[in-house]
Symmetry: C2
Subunit: 252 residues, 2 copies
């Protein structure tokens, strides 16, 4: 048995998300089914980030144990031959025995794109949230600073979310001005369900002047989902990279 680390890119538009669901096709299911013919059984594939329906990935990481002598190059080719073009295995590496993509991850980076122009490019429509309002990026940056460090993010978890330990650490949260587009990039040790999208939704409201940058501190203290902003749409979000100990950035 050998442990493998898979790096995966996907257009999440038409899937129910990473995790297996009864009501539609998940990325996890596709990867597991693509692995099955290599070992004659359906293996369990663990993903680093359980991206929601409509969320994309450039550098999702998954772990799987396979009883095979195939080279990593052949495994990659075999998986991509079976996967639909929306999902590509961009790298296969052999990992240490016991490697687990989620439990061993030390940091994850997400990117959220907001199109601010009057019209949205036809080429961006599944990948960018179109919200054509000019925002105050300086206010958004001052708000972003207040998320940095270790906090209880209960106010930014999906209502009724499963996590009981809601403390997470955010290492970086940048609001970038790309002209017609605002790009929000966040790196942390882990994220609760809908957490990135609730942070983005809150920053978006700060940018409109509907909340002050300082209010972030009170929202965090409230530990109440109702205190924070709306959950930003799934389409704007991409899991960019997952980092493990002893590695540089995996960003593409």
């Amino acid at each position: 048995m050998r442990a493998f680390k898979l790096t995966i890119a996907y257009d999440g538009t038409s899937f129910v998300g990473w995790q297996r669901q009864p009501n539609g096709v998940s990325i996890q299911q596709l990867i597991e089914e693509a692995c099955a013919p290599l070992v004659g059984r359906l293996p369990t594939v663990a993903g680093a980030g359980r991206t929601d329906a409509g969320v994309h990935a450039l550098g999702q990481v998954a772990s799987v144990t396979l009883d095979t002598d195939l080279s990593t190059t052949t495994v990659q080719r075999a998986l991509n031959a079976r996967l639909p073009p929306e999902v590509r295995v961009t790298a296969v590496e052999e990992a240490l025995a016991g490697f687990h993509a989620r439990f061993d991850a030390v940091a994850k980076s997400y990117r959220y794109r907001i199109a601010q122009g009057v019209w949205q490019s036809p080429f961006d429509r599944w990948f960018v949230w179109h919200s054509p309002v000019a925002r105050d990026l300086e206010a958004m940056r001052r708000a972003a600073c207040r998320f940095l460090g270790c906090h209880d993010f209960a106010s930014f978890q999906a209502a009724g979310g499963p996590a009981t330990d809601t403390v997470r650490t955010i290492h970086a949260l940048e609001v970038r001005d790309h002209g017609r587009e605002v790009m929000i990039e966040v790196t942390g040790d882990g994220f609760l369900r809908y957490m990135v999208r609730a942070i983005v939704g809150t920053l978006a409201e700060v940018g409109l002047g509907a909340r002050t940058p300082e209010s972030v501190t009170d929202i965090l203290a409230a530990r109440d989902r109702g205190a924070a902003g709306e959950t930003a749409p799934a389409c704007g979000l991409t899991l960019v990279a997952v980092k493990y100990d002893g590695e540089g950035e995996r960003a593409r």
Copy 2:
């Protein structure tokens, strides 16, 4: 009556092309139908480039005459409100009476993208031709030079193509190395049906060593579609810009 110049971007994946066809939805039809409520009749919209099914545009230009007092901003907003998100009017300008997007165009620029990596990004799959073979770009560039200037392009016209005057002038033809991707950019005074895709297909074969760069001269002289290379797939092609007298480049 006022003449308008529309600049249009579209994801051509699910359309039959620019021109009205009985067998599917065209961009021309969508633009005409979006204009109709402004003037109470279906106007005729002329496009600068008759892009084929599956071909995209960043800067298609169309002309239309409308009996309306609406501002250009309002016309743009009204058209975009009626168009599907795959098609966006990116600019509306008032033009001189008699302006015709095709007859008045002095140059058009197209871009063709070829992905050469083993796997293709899920985000590129409708916009880039995936042809995972390493090509000799220097040979392609030497071949590209032989297309420059005024030639009879009968060998590069769709078989049974309608044009009787097949002489065109190519101002620029560049083969750019973008790592995993080759980008071919061509500007000319006009293009026959399938001409850009036949040039790209021929360059692609030169890149594989299947033809010599020097053979381009013979192919042009043959005036026979069978002499040139395969027609490259539609998905890789984008109409980038159309130029008119007294204008700078319209490229985005």
